[in-house]
């Protein structure tokens, strides 16, 4: 196979030792899994630094590592908007304003918060759509892992087991599924979280040498800038378009991302970002596993610190890769795909170029680790939502805690099996992956409107929340059906409702504006329906769930510099400074 790596015994040893530790952590936690709370909520007892790193790590799946490197090549420095604009502000908001309601209420999950605040149907809508999303996300991670392993590992074999003709792809998939199954079955959410922390350090330590080597090779930041000016001009942009983050955002045609500043700030910076970080149980669950309210509020902030610097680890390799590709004398070139480059190959190719065996094994292990923790994170989130919000709510609510613990454990098995199924579906129907991720984007778009109104306006009613959410999702779909990005060739990209009312300069622009329209409609509709319907909950019931009915947290006993508020200010300041430096 042309792309496969030549690996030595040291590389294989590193991978095996990693697997041994991952399973060992699960095994060590087994004896603490005595209640459903221990299994599904990590006993709500973890220290802030652990939940903070897990918070980021659950999100830093290999798809993000590979995807952001690809985007770094394709869009240059503007990719950083997914971090400094598209994550930090939302994480600060979640930490300071939303966590008190998630952690302070008796909710054990995000859907359960919706039940307590609104009603059963709102919870149901969120629980079912989230459950579906996490199973598919897990399956997609699994598929991507097996695919990558098949490409870079040099083994060629065919097995016949129990009548099943297995190729390397199948073997890698089954092995990774089995490992994740074992450690999440044994140790539940705690196991997933601890392994996410391990994965975080592996990624940092595994990829930092790569960035350092590549940066030295290209002549440092100045050398990179010079090369990227060539990339920019040869693509029809001003020099600097690949190395500035805000300078060329005035108009969609002057930056490689194809978005203008308003769509970027409102669509990505506000709606999509707050909608994801504020409501996605995959990440919120990690904060809810903290030992106390202050730790829970600090979790997103602690996570925000490495989050701000991860661009240097994942985006920079992409930028360097495209700079090298455009330099005919460098000897490095990204493979072609159609009439542009196969950007997804950035990370494997960079690893192959700069890493001798030894660190190569480390880099591969870091990649596999992040795929697996993506799988485990999704499975554990699925588990909690299934057990509490679907099984306990709609199927059998009178069980003992041991019963729900068992349900949680069995759901782990079922969750993994379903993920395997979706991994094979993704393999056969490649477009299904795109299609499903589109559907999930529709569902995410209006979510923040519901939570915003729910947490900060006590008058918001259950009917309003549910119908606002539903119509917001519908509007997202309709908007997508009536618009297309420039140069679209298939209906998965839009315009499937027959007429194209507007053509956006790029897919990103279309995504951001879909989100803006969906959020706005959901907001307006939720407000209108609220005014037309009765509030069914009493103020007593809403205490701890809404801003105006919850006592303000003062943290008088903690010195100011150790309060979440101070941390939030510090994080915000650093993000602003970074933005100014790389504007």
């Amino acid at each position: 196979m042309e792309h496969s790596f030549s690996l030595g015994w040291i590389d294989y040893s590193i991978i095996i030792i990693y697997f041994a530790f991952v399973l060992g952590i699960g095994w060590a936690l087994k004896k603490f899994m005595k209640s459903s709370k221990a299994f599904l909520e990590a006993g709500r007892s973890l220290p802030a630094w652990v939940t903070g790193l897990a918070f980021i790590s659950a999100n830093l799946g290999a798809l993000e590592v590979i995807g952001m490197a690809a985007s770094g090549a394709k869009y240059g420095a503007t990719t950083v908007h997914f971090y400094w604009l598209g994550a930090i502000p939302a994480m600060i908001f979640l930490a300071i304003f939303m966590m008190p309601f998630y952690y302070g209420s008796k909710a054990r999950s995000v859907p359960e918060y919706l039940k307590l605040r609104f009603d059963e149907k709102t919870r149901g809508f969120n629980a079912f759509s989230f459950a579906l999303m996490t199973v598919f996300s897990s399956g997609i991670s699994m598929y991507a892992l097996a695919l990558l392993a098949q490409t870079i590992l040099p083994f060629q074999f065919e097995l016949n087991m129990l009548g099943w003709h297995m190729t390397p792809f199948d073997v890698y998939l089954i092995i990774s599924a089995l490992v994740v199954l074992i450690y999440t079955y044994l140790g539940g959410l705690s196991s997933a979280i601890y392994n996410e922390v391990l994965q975080f350090f592996l990624i940092v330590i595994g990829f930092t040498p790569l960035v350092i080597l590549a940066l030295i090779h290209i002549g440092g930041w100045e050398g990179l800038k010079t090369q990227l000016d060539v990339v920019a001009t040869s693509n029809g942009f001003q020099p600097g378009a690949w190395t500035h983050t805000w300078k060329f955002m005035g108009h969609a045609s002057t930056n490689p991302m194809g978005v203008e500043w308003f769509g970027l700030i409102m669509g990505l910076g506000f709606v999509l970002s707050f909608g994801y970080w504020g409501t996605n149980f995959l990440v919120v669950q990690r904060a809810m596993a903290a030992g106390n309210m202050t730790a829970a509020r600090k979790t997103p902030l602690i996570g925000a610190i490495p989050k701000m610097f991860i661009p240097f680890l994942v985006i920079l390799p992409g930028m360097i890769a495209i700079a090298l590709t455009m330099d005919p004398g460098s000897g490095f070139s990204l493979p072609l795909k159609g009439d542009s480059y196969n950007y997804d190959t950035v990370i494997p190719m960079m690893l192959k170029t700069y890493y001798p065996i030894g660190v190569l094994g480390l880099g591969i292990t870091a990649l596999f680790a992040s795929f697996m923790s993506g799988m485990a994170g999704n499975v554990t989130a699925f588990n909690t939502v299934w057990t509490y919000d679907i099984y306990q709510s709609y199927i059998y609510s009178k069980g003992s805690d041991e019963h729900y613990l068992k349900v949680g454990q069995w759901t782990t098995v079922v969750g993994i099996l379903l993920s395997i199924l979706t991994a094979y579906v993704a393999r056969v129907f490649n477009n299904v992956m795109d299609f499903l991720q589109l559907i999930f984007a529709f569902i995410n778009a209006p979510l923040f409107a519901t939570f915003l109104l729910g947490m900060f306006w006590k008058r918001t009613t259950g009917h309003a929340a549910f119908y606002g959410l539903l119509s917001g999702t519908g509007v997202a779909a309709i908007h997508h059906g009536l618009t297309q990005p420039a140069g679209a060739t298939s209906l998965v990209k839009g315009g499937w409702l027959g007429t194209v009312l507007h053509t956006y300069p790029s897919e990103m622009a279309q995504n951001f504006w879909t989100a803006i329209f969906a959020f706005s409609l959901a907001l307006i509709l939720t407000i209108i329906i609220t005014l037309l319907t009765e509030q069914k909950k009493t103020e007593q019931e809403l205490k701890g769930l809404v801003y105006s009915l919850t006592p303000r947290i003062t943290n008088k006993d903690i010195p100011f510099v150790r309060r979440p508020e101070f941390m939030a200010i510090a994080v915000g300041a650093i993000a602003i400074i970074l933005t100014i430096i790389f504007w």
Partner: protein
């Protein structure tokens, strides 16, 4: 939750660090380091990992000591 995660993390990085460090020493003159700009990247990475691993284990041991001391003072 009962398990101090600093211990497994400290252990794995110490072990992998020592492995890479020794491997780096053993392969010092190998031409494969042309790739990494003639830097013995295994040696450096291994050293750094070992330091990080030992740092984690130290933090864990110090934390246990603090806990023991706090327990003792509440018992007195």
């Amino acid at each position: 939750m009962g398990l101090d995660i600093k211990i497994p993390i400290g252990l794995i990085f110490s072990i992998l660090g020592i492995m890479l460090f020794i491997f780096g020493l053993a392969t010092g003159s190998d031409p494969m380091y042309h790739k990494s700009l003639n830097i013995n990247i295994n040696l450096w990475t291994g050293a750094f990992m070992l330091i990080f691993g030992l740092f984690m284990l130290t933090l864990s041991a110090l934390g246990k000591k603090k806990e023991k001391k706090a327990k003792k003072t509440t018992e007195e």
